[in-house]
Symmetry: C2
């Protein structure tokens, strides 16, 4: 008998029919002899509806009260899933984040998990019950409700899997696994049977958008075996684990990220401390910087280019304009009409020519590379937005994933 | 500086505009130098919407899960009211029933309050904050969410007023006070400045429908001064308290209740135990019986008539049909086309002729009385439904409330 944690996203519980579908998946797992803890998100648009209600009254209200409000979405879902499971005739209990022992820090709206008391869940499992837990929410040391921010429900599932020492954490979603490229762009993209945490981390942060990085990081740290699979189709998904079998493929997939904007600062003084001043300014404003490229100094000045999420572009620009004199730059340019295309694969460091194959494919397709960034398991290029889909196709093709 | 508990019902917080109206009332009370604890109900139709969602999935689900579901309604309200108060620029914190220390027994769906820990509320008041509390909900000793059933939010407000030793508990609703009769029926009905708990109890149970009996009972037991007033009009309401000033009026008001059905059992054996068998049968099925009338025995048999709520009529009849032989009755009759009209007033026991005045008024109007029931502070009659409005008018007139 295994202990399995399952997570169902908002689209998977969007209406009564889908709630029953989820109840079916959970009870089938239970009937197969497993203990089941299922983490659920808020139904479909519930969270957006609640935010709209709040904005109508006070768009600048405290995050504490927003968490009180938003946490009701998951509470509604968990009760409905429990009612469906009761209808199917199985013993079940639903628990809010606080009831389930999810303790967090005090960062309302984006809380970090501090510890998990599994006592209540263990007791309910011991009584043979299926346990439904509200994702995304916890309680802080003031006994106040907190929410975990983006990717919170995935993270909730992985955290409970870790705390309960579960045998598997299944993330049910609206896609059926992790693909070598976005199947909507690349027709012969194929689903991976398995992928390592590190590869998944690179893919997720590069825009694959299936699993939130935070949940994968936690899975890696606590050695939680993940499986990403579809709640709508009964087929095998993709396993995410520590070590994956060595395949002939050097790279695991091709990802594209459109949420990226480039900023360049021209004519910075070529002296120590310049980069420090620039990036600490952005860090203080909590603006995340991704790819950084610095030109070699010439004539006593250098240029620095970097990328930020498109949502941070305006703030970053106004901040930099304000401090341009003190940083010492001459002028600012920016471009939000770009994409980042990346290849990811743990095999690539030990195999020469991976980056070269990618660049060659882009060259033959006449796609200009604006910036390049590499890590041990990925190569990313920044290119014009209009070239992005084509780039994913030719790069995917160059690595013969289809073979 | 006084401590005031305020309660706002579902219609008072039904939309953003009304939420601001409530925020205005609360902050004006706060600005006048008072500490304020405000108890809120779920917005307008939220509770009905949630019940519909649940019924679509499982109309026979556990009450525990229904409580998990329904308690979200008040949680949404309390956050929205808090956000509105923040918008007005005042310090505020919202608390769920469990956070506010509302402990109950384990009767999901209809829980009784067991104790209230005021520590958290006191601490927040001590920081100068306005405290918004979710009505209708609590926590049991299993750390599970419970709801208090009908009249739960009124009861929540009174319970916190008692526990906090508040100076006043204001129940804001969509009427502006307690009237000597339903103003929609009797044009010259007038609003009472004050009324005693006992009188209010009789009026409430007789269909006045402004305050739930349970909350009035609790107010009486803990000597909580109540005020019923409108959240839409800024005028004085009606105070409900222990002792009210003696007025010339002998009776406090005329009430009508249409939610009543009569059942008669004919030909019961005239021997000890008959009433016991009959009514314990109904009690076991949790059917509440109101007025009971037993004929004087004749020919070794007697007839018993009693009233139940209309919602219990079918169940009561099928139960009685099933056991008619063992109870020893001959036959059953029933009538759901009746109303109960009552006069209430603490003065009536010491003043002869109150009941006679009522009966005379009905006689002159040609209204037939089917059953009569009296207590120390009320006289009720059962009459045909079609006569009810007219009866309220002529009785109200007979007591010269308008003078």
């Amino acid at each position: 008998m295994a202990l399995i944690v399952q997570k169902f996203g908002g689209t998977s519980v969007a209406n009564a029919e889908r709630v029953f579908n989820v109840a079916q998946i959970i009870t089938e797992t239970y009937q197969a002899g497993n203990s089941v803890v299922a983490v659920v998100s808020a139904q479909g648009d519930t969270t957006d509806d609640l935010i709209e209600k709040a904005n109508e009254i006070n768009p600048a209200g405290s995050k504490r009260e927003m968490d009180v409000l938003l946490s009701t979405g998951e509470q509604i879902s968990m009760a409905l899933v429990a009612l469906a499971i009761q209808k199917l005739g199985f013993p079940v209990v639903s628990l809010t984040g606080p009831q389930a022992g999810m303790h967090t820090d005090n960062t309302y709206g984006n809380a970090r998990i501090s510890r998990i008391d599994t006592e209540r869940i263990q007791a309910e499992l011991g009584k043979g019950k299926i346990v439904i837990v509200a994702g995304f929410q916890g309680i802080n040391r003031y006994d106040d409700i907190t929410t975990l921010g983006r990717g919170g429900s995935d993270t909730t599932a992985v955290a409970f899997a870790a705390a309960l020492n579960a045998d598997l954490c299944q993330i049910y979603t609206d896609v059926d696994g992790i693909y070598t490229a976005d199947p909507r762009i690349v027709k012969d993209a194929h689903k991976l049977d398995e992928i390592s945490y590190d590869e998944m981390l690179e893919l997720a942060s590069l825009g694959a958008q299936v699993l939130h990085n935070r949940s994968v990081e936690m899975a890696k740290r606590y050695h939680v075996d993940l499986e990403v699979l579809s709640s709508f189709q009964k087929i095998k998904g993709t396993k995410v684990k520590e070590v994956v079998q060595v395949e002939k493929m050097l790279i695991r997939g091709v990802a594209r990220d459109n949420d990226v904007a480039r900023i360049s600062i021209i004519g910075l003084p070529d002296q120590p401390g310049t980069a420090y001043h620039l990036f600490s300014l952005l860090a203080k404003a909590k603006i995340n910087v991704d790819v950084i490229l610095q030109s070699i100094g010439r004539d006593g000045t250098k240029d620095v280019s970097f990328t930020v999420g498109k949502g941070s572009l305006d703030e970053a620009l106004s901040l930099l304009h304000e401090h341009l004199a003190s940083i010492g730059g001459c002028c600012l340019t920016h471009d939000s009409d770009i994409s980042k295309v990346s290849i990811v694969g743990a095999g690539m460091t030990t195999h020469a020519g991976v980056a070269a194959t990618m660049f060659e494919a882009l060259y033959e397709a006449g796609i200009n590379i604006q910036m390049i960034s590499t890590s041990e398991i990925k190569v990313s290029v920044l290119i014009a937005r209009e070239d992005a889909e084509r780039a994913v196709k030719v790069v995917h093709n160059a690595f013969h994933f289809g073979d």
